[in-house]
């Protein structure tokens, strides 16, 4: 759970000053630092990133009225509906975050965790 929170908070902060893909960097680093399993890393990365993107998008949407979001739905998906750009934003942010988190876990597993797992192997009878 701490990973999800960290991804969301650090991701938010990073994107205020860095390019959009800093989100990926944050999800990757957090899962490299601490993650238990592949599914968990992906899920935390996905949810952390999607939450930040959806939350911020929703905030802008509510603050400015939905006409423009509808227009963007029309422009990108040929349907004048505000929900589609919202969904696409959440999914895209989530996917990038999830894959980055998973990347972090795999690298942690291959390198960082290797020592521990070797140690475990040696102690086995």
């Amino acid at each position: 759970m701490i990973q999800l929170l960290l991804i969301a908070i650090l991701g938010l902060l990073a994107q205020l000053i860095l390019p959009w893909w800093s989100l990926a960097l944050v999800a990757f680093l957090v899962c490299l630092w601490r993650s238990q399993s592949a599914s968990q890393a992906f899920l935390y990365g996905f949810l952390g990133a999607a939450l930040v993107w959806l939350g911020y998008a929703l905030l802008i949407y509510l603050r400015t009225g939905g006409d423009f979001t509808g227009r963007m739905g029309e422009l990108l998906f040929k349907v004048n509906n505000a929900a589609l750009p919202m969904l696409a934003t959440a999914l895209l942010g989530g996917l990038v975050g999830g894959l980055s988190g998973l990347s972090g876990f795999f690298i942690r597993q291959a390198f960082g965790n290797q020592v521990a797992s070797h140690a475990a192997g040696h102690t086995r009878p």
């Binding site: 990926a24 979001t69 029309e74 422009l75 750009p85 895209l92 996917l95 894959l99 797992s117």
Partner: protein, 823 residues
């Protein structure tokens, strides 16, 4: 997880772990890279969807908070008052600061549009969208847009007044660009995937060339040469006369010319260039691009002060063509419509005067046949000797591809747009013709607006006009001293009669442009006895004006209708003028239908076609949205013109010809109803006018039935016309589609499918001017702003907003929303 794999050999297990640790991050990186760039017309979805930098950042709400912005570009603090329509009212202490603020504020609202339009004029669209714009870019470059802009910028820089305004405007635009972060880029940059570049004075010149391209590129020379070759001089003169059958010229008939004309060049023998069969898909001037303006004098106005109106008709687009502003310094207080990319107010008013413009449509583009010495194209024959050709290299950048280099040959006439061996823009392009265009001339058009913005009386107005080059405009004028005036004005080449009606001979110096009509001898009239002045792009003068400006102008109906109503008008108020701007009467239908309908053989029609005739008989010639008459009449007349002329003047791939005007065609029905032109030469049976009218009516009704189904509500004019205000990048989602509004081509309310009044203004002069205006769109160029389309409904319903004309930065008014201090 580790335990699940303990049965496997450790080496495979480690290999898989390493593989995952390499492949998945690699895939993730690849995905991020792919999302971070655009693919053809597919935008970069990563940054586009990110709420931190993407389109979400362009969503705006109404801002009511005051701001103080430090820019280090002003000489003294500038106060900007923003009103409820988001119009900036700039209070500066000197000229530099007022234009700096204009540049800054315009860029803030319209940066993408400013840059895109000037990129288009400069032939740089391929840079943004790739190879699909290459031929467009080549066309603009071969036309000499860059050549002309370079000359214009030199003229601007030579005068200290225009120099200061252009330089300060440029600095203001750059003050905005330089602090812009990618998240704040206008939406279109994010969609197309590029970044704004610094503004330069030459971009202001490119903007002028862009407008000259829209308004002063009409050329029928080639079509007319083809007509002449096919039909001979007598028929050509008869069917394509130099003055319309029905006309009500801008300068009232009977106005005395108060000048002694300079010597007009003699018509050279064999003045028509001998040409082979030629064809070129030259973009014909859109007759729907025109405008209205007029001013009523004190004797016709309720207050005893003049009232002035103007509505320029252009291809309607978004972001809106115009941008409203009030510019105030200790020596100027002007309000009006500005154009993003040009310093100053173009159409507007100050405390003493008001002015407006419509297009003249002068013949300021001619084509000269060039004779080269040999295939090296180093010299051309002119005035009995070989003269050197100069070469201009055009390097066109293309997104995602190497640059293309285009070499354009120039003679003293101008650029040779298409040469043998070059892949032409159109299929059959004549090789070796040079284009002589007013846009290539050095002129300082901004100075005209600079002086109009500060004009106090009629003499100032005349002085301002004397600097103007192109595109030539009918400048209407009214002032608080109760003078009204109008002048078709611009630099007009001094020509022999009909010079440039046909293609010209580039070897003969007698075919050259030979100087200019002196500016003070441009047609003009002040306080005519009829008590009003007006223009609607019709003939500038009657046939007594000593000089040749053009042989054809926009059809007379709009101007005639305006003059009818102004003649009858008494005790005029701004509202009377507003109502006239919205006049939907089709004078052409009123003139033509009583002549045409009796010829229709009703017995030959189907039930639906008969119903159509009934509708036309009952129609009051008004182009309101719920009428079906306009749909029927417009389609019928289109078919009728084809029916009469297509057999005689076909427009094919190998030979482009053009039809005589509607005015001439109607004259024929009235005066020569048995003319042989009504016969279709491709059939053996002889056709009469009645046959053509009946046949084309049937065709029109059948064609409409195919488009809209059985005759009924779906044929209504508003639905049929479906006016569209398209975004400049042709993105439907950012456009206003199917706008229900009346009017049409040749109607005072000149709203067609794509063109229409791009700004409507009415100004009542007086001790304190009262002004009204609206345009179809809004002050913001950002589709995510509440001010992107907020004025559309007011425009559509024919209403005007009262314009807030402030006297000082301390004025109180409920329409004032916020203040910005620029330091």
């Amino acid at each position: 997880m580790v335990n699940l794999h303990t049965e496997r050999p450790a080496s495979i297990y480690f290999l898989m772990r390493y593989a995952k640790a390499i492949l998945l991050p690699a895939f993730t990186l690849l995905l991020i890279w792919a999302l971070n760039r655009s693919w053809g017309s597919i935008p970069a979805f990563g940054p586009l969807l990110s709420p931190f930098v993407g389109f979400w950042q362009n969503a705006e709400s109404v801002n009511t908070s005051d701001e103080e912005i430090t820019l280090n570009g002003t000489q003294a603090p500038v106060t900007v008052i923003i009103d409820d329509k988001a119009v900036p009212h700039v209070f500066a202490q000197n000229d530099h600061d007022v234009y700096f603020a204009q540049g800054y504020l315009t860029a803030r609202d319209r940066l993408w549009q400013m840059e895109f339009q000037t990129h288009a004029a400069a032939g740089r669209v391929s840079e943004l969208v790739g190879e699909r714009a290459l031929e467009l870019d080549r066309y603009n470059r071969r036309l000499g847009m860059g050549f002309g802009a370079e000359k214009s910028v030199k003229a601007m820089m030579d005068d200290p007044r225009s120099r200061e305004s252009v330089e300060a405007y440029t600095a203001g635009v750059n003050a905005w660009i330089s602090q812009l972060k990618p998240a704040q880029y206008p939406l279109e940059y994010k969609l197309l995937g590029y970044a704004p570049e610094p503004w330069q004075p030459i971009k202001c010149a490119y903007f002028l060339k862009y407008m000259s391209g829209v308004l002063a590129l009409g050329a029928d020379d080639l079509n007319m040469s083809n007509v002449l070759q096919k039909a001979g001089p007598a028929v050509t003169a008869n069917l394509f006369p130099d003055y319309p059958f029905r006309e009500d010229p801008i300068i009232p008939v009977g106005t005395k010319w108060d000048f002694k004309p300079v010597k007009i060049p003699a018509v050279p023998p064999a003045s028509v260039s001998a040409v082979g069969s030629l064809s070129m898909n030259w973009a014909e001037h859109d007759p729907a691009i025109g405008s209205n303006n007029w001013a009523v004098g004190p004797q016709k106005s309720a207050t005893g002060y003049p009232i002035l109106a103007n509505d320029p008709h252009l291809t309607l687009s978004l972001p809106s063509i115009w941008y409203q502003m009030q510019l105030v310094t200790p020596t100027m207080n002007v309000y009006g419509a500005t154009m993003p990319g040009a310093p100053g107010v173009i159409i507007g008013f100050n405390k003493q005067v008001a002015w407006g413009v419509t297009n003249v449509g002068a013949d300021v583009l001619d084509f000269y046949q060039i004779k080269f010495r040999d295939n090296r194209h180093l010299d051309y024959w002119h005035d009995n000797r070989w003269k050197p050709v100069t070469r201009r290299i055009e390097r066109i950048k293309i997104k995602g591809q190497p640059d293309k280099v285009d070499t354009v040959l120039y003679t003293h006439h101008g650029p040779i747009m298409y040469m043998e061996g070059q892949k032409p823009f159109a299929r059959n392009v004549p090789v070796g013709y040079a284009a002589r265009w007013i846009g290539h001339e050095e002129s300082n058009d901004f100075l005209t607006y600079y002086l109009l913005d500060r004009a106090a009386n009629h003499a100032d107005y005349r002085k301002a006009l004397s600097y103007y080059g192109a595109p030539a405009q009918n400048f209407v004028f009214a002032d608080v001293a109760k003078d009204i005036a109008i002048s078709p004005n611009g630099r007009f080449p001094l020509k022999w009669k009909d010079q440039g009606k046909f293609l010209l001979d580039g070897t003969n110096p007698a075919h050259d442009w030979q100087g200019w009509i002196p500016a003070e001898q441009n047609p003009h009239v002040k306080n005519p006895p009829r008590g009003f002045v007006s223009s609607a792009n019709q003939s500038s003068t009657d046939t007594t004006y000593p000089y040749y400006i053009n042989w054809q102008f926009a059809p007379a109906e709009r101007g005639t209708r305006i003059n009818q109503r102004l003649t009858a008008m008494q005790q005029a108020t701004p509202d009377s003028l507003r109502m006239l701007q919205n006049d939907n009467l089709n004078l052409r239908a009123q003139q033509a239908l009583p002549i045409f309908l009796p010829y229709v053989r009703v017995e030959k029609l189907t039930a639906e076609q008969k119903k159509a005739v009934d509708i036309l008989k009952k129609w009051r010639y008004n182009h309101d949205i719920a009428e079906i008459g306009p749909t029927l009449f417009t389609e019928w007349m289109r078919q009728y013109m084809d029916g009469v002329w297509r057999d005689d003047f076909p427009n094919t791939d190998s030979t482009t010809l053009r039809y005589p005007s509607f005015d001439r065609t109607l004259q024929m029905a009235e005066q020569e109803p048995t003319a042989h032109w009504f016969d279709d030469v491709t059939t053996t049976a002889p056709e009469t006018i009645g046959d053509v009218l009946t046949q084309t009516l049937k065709l029109a009704v059948d064609s409409l039935a195919r488009q809209h189904g059985p005759l009924g509500e779906s044929w209504q004019w508003g639905k049929h016309k479906a006016t569209r205000i398209a975004h400049l990048a042709r993105l439907d989602a950012l456009s206003a589609l199917n706008v229900q509004i009346g009017g049409g081509a040749g109607i005072v309310n000149a709203t067609t499918e794509r063109t229409g009044p791009s700004w409507r203004m009415v100004v009542a002069l007086g001790p304190q001017p009262k002004a009204y205006g609206v345009y179809p769109g809004g002050q913001s160029g950002n589709p995510g702003s509440p001010y992107y389309l907020n004025m559309l409904e007011t425009w559509r319903t024919g209403q005007l907003n009262e314009l807030l004309y402030l006297q000082s930065a301390q004025d109180k008014n409920p329409a004032i929303k916020r203040r910005i201090i620029l330091k």
